[in-house]
C-alpha cells in the first residue's frame, strides 16, 4: 500500500496546498471522514468545518466552507468555495459568513429551511472550534 497520496486544496482564487500526505480528515456533508491512500473513489460535498492533513511534511489545518472533495486511490482534491489556514481565520470572516447564512435562513423556502438552519449551526460550531 502506498504510504502517501497527492493532496490538493484549491479555492477559486488560488491553490492553497499541493503536497504528499498520509491522510486527510474531511468535514463531509454527512459527517467527517478520513481519506488515506487507496481509498475507494468518492465524491462528497463539504459542510463548513476544519480540514486536517498530516503527512511527511508535517500537519496542517484549514478552515473550509462549502464545496466538495474528490477522493480517488491516488489522491484527494478538495475544491472549497472559501478556504484558509486556520491561523489566518479571523472573527470578521466568521461574522461575514454567519451574517450571510442568517440572511439565507430568512429567505429560504419552507423545505429549504432545515438546510439553511444547519448551515448557520455548522458555521457557529466551526467558529467555536477555531476559537476566534
Amino acid at each position: 500500500m502506498a504510504e502517501t497520496m497527492q493532496f490538493d486544496l484549491v479555492s477559486p482564487e488560488r491553490r492553497l496546498a499541493s503536497m504528499q500526505v498520509a491522510q486527510v480528515q474531511i468535514p463531509g456533508a454527512d459527517g467527517d471522514l478520513t481519506a488515506m491512500p487507496d481509498h475507494a473513489p468518492l465524491i462528497t460535498t463539504l459542510r463548513p468545518g476544519v480540514l486536517r492533513v498530516s503527512g511527511p511534511q508535517g500537519d496542517a489545518a484549514y478552515v473550509v466552507t462549502g464545496g466538495f472533495a474528490e477522493i480517488s486511490p491516488e489522491g484527494t482534491s478538495v475544491l472549497a468555495e472559501k478556504a484558509m489556514p486556520v491561523a489566518e481565520a479571523t472573527a470578521a470572516d466568521f461574522d461575514a459568513l454567519i451574517g450571510l447564512a442568517v440572511e439565507a435562513v430568512a429567505k429560504a423556502p419552507v423545505d429549504g429551511r432545515d438546510a439553511a438552519d444547519k448551515l448557520v449551526a455548522d458555521l457557529q460550531a466551526l467558529r467555536v472550534e477555531v476559537g476566534v
Binding site: P12, P41, T45
Partner: protein
Amino acid sequence: MPNLKDLKNRIASVKSTRKITKAMQMVAAAKLRRAQDAAEASRPYAERFNAVMAGLAASVGGSDTAPRLLAGTGDDKVHLLVVMTAERGLCGGFNSNIAKLAKVHAAKLLAQGKTVKILTVGKKGRDQLKREYAKYFVGHVDLTEVKRVGYADAQGIARDVLDRFDAGEFDVATIFYSKFVNVVSQIPTAQQIIPASFEQAEADSASLLYDYEPSEEAILADLLPRGVATQIFSALLENGASEQGARMSAMDNATRNAGEMIEKLTIEYNRSRQAVITNELIEIISGAEAL
C-alpha cells in the same frame, strides 16, 4: 503657414500626451501581469470543477429529476444577457467588441420573437447598449469600487442571476465577455450558463466509478449554483486580463503615433524657422542694396 509659437506649443502638448500614454501603457502592463496571475491561479479550480460536473451531469442529466439549472425550464422564450465589460475606456476596441457581440445576439433573439433582458456588469457596456436597448435593462452591477475582482464579486452577480432564475424571470442566461488570447488579441465570447452545459472531460476521469455522498442528485443541486459563480468568476478574470491587454496595445499605438506626430511637427517647425530667417536676411540685404 502657422506661426512659430503655435507650432512650439503644439509640439509641447503632443509631447506631454505621449508621456501620459506611455505611463498608461506601463501601468497596464503591470496590471496585466497581475490579472494573468489571477486568471492562472483560478484555473485549477475551474478545471477540476468542470471535470466533476461533466461526470455528474452525464449520469444524472438524462433523468426527469435533473435540476432545473441543468435541464432548463423547458422553454427558451426569455433570454437574459449578462454583458460584462470594463469600467474604464481607453482600451481600444475592447468594450465595443463585447457590446457589439451582445447587440448582434440581442437583435437575433428579438427577430425570432423572443424576449430579451439585459444585465450589465461594467459601466462602459451599459453606456454603449443604452441607446438601443435601454428598455430591456433589468439591472446593473457596478464594479467601479472594486480594485481586484474577487470570488465574492462573482458570487454577488451569480446570486443576482440565480434569484432571477428562481423567480422565473428568464429561461436561458448567456454571459458576454472577452477571452484573453494574448496582448494583441482578445476574442469576445458568448457563453451559455443556464441551463448549464459542461464540456465532456477526458475519458479517464469519467471512467472512474465514484461513490457519491450524500447522493448524485443532492451533490448536483448543491454544486450547480456554485458552477454559475465559478463560470462568472473565470469570465471576470479573463475580462480583466483582456482589458489590460487591450489597453496596453492601444496605448502602445498611441505612444507611437504621438512620436510620429512630434517628428512631423518638429520638421515643420524647423522649416518655418529657417524660412523666417531667410526672409529677414533678404530684407536686410535688399535694404542694404537700396542704399
